[in-house]
Symmetry: C2
Subunit: 145 residues, 2 copies
């Protein structure tokens, strides 16, 4: 199974530890194409030694290849939002995980969109359980898995 | 001409004065469907008296109706990112305006995407001039206008 994990880079790295923990868990189910999102050394300026055009093309290619998308949506991010719009058009199953303890409010374009599965959590274990259920449901209902 | 203006709401209202000024200018060219984005009274919790599902459906309908999209992308926003992904799939002409004086760095999913016209600015007059050029170019090349 190929998984696309989406999380904020230039929008802010506050939740990188959560990204890391979620990615570690996702790797039990298959390959996480965008594993670098959880990299501790990846700062707010993003990846080095690669142009924005190449990042864009690579990430769209990964989105095309993946069987499902897991997005951590607590930190507002243009890139994550854009990827969610594209993932929906590619008819990928999408889970959005939102941490309710950070004082943010989730965009209506995500929470009001019935196509996405949106799960709120207040500690990482609850988010991991949501991933378990999502992957289990996808395996049951998605032709690709 | 119908224009969809995209700007951050729940991602942060720091740039609402810029949104206001850009919307005032856009109204010279036609109807700005999402004029409320510039509303001073609209806070980080978003619109009141309307569900997220209704906001989502209304905004997608406006995106479908519009002739072009102008997005102010300085403040990272999941909703703006999502709308840009959907607008691209609807083949709408898109201008993204990014203020370079705020210390942020634009997402590679926007700056690396050749389909969007991305313009950086350091004062509002420069952004307004970018809008003039964009609308002028659209009027020349877009069948819809």
């Amino acid at each position: 199974m190929k998984i696309y994990f989406a999380g904020s880079i230039r929008g802010g790295r506050e939740e990188r530890t959560a990204y890391q923990e979620l990615i570690i868990h996702l790797k039990k189910f298959g390959q996480v194409l965008s594993e670098h999102i959880g990299d501790d050394k990846l700062g707010i300026n993003g990846e080095k030694g690669i142009t924005d055009t190449k990042i864009f093309k690579r990430d769209i290619e990964w989105l095309n290849q993946c069987d499902l998308v897991v997005a951590e949506v607590t930190v507002p991010s243009l890139g994550v939002g854009y990827e969610l719009g594209r993932a929906e058009m590619m008819q990928k199953p999408v889970l959005c995980l939102f941490n309710t303890t950070k004082g943010a409010r989730l965009s209506a374009m995500i929470s009001g969109n019935a196509v996405f599965r949106v799960a709120v959590y207040d500690h990482i274990q609850a988010a991991i359980e949501e991933i378990e259920r999502f992957v289990h449901d996808c395996a049951r209902t998605c032709d690709a898995l």
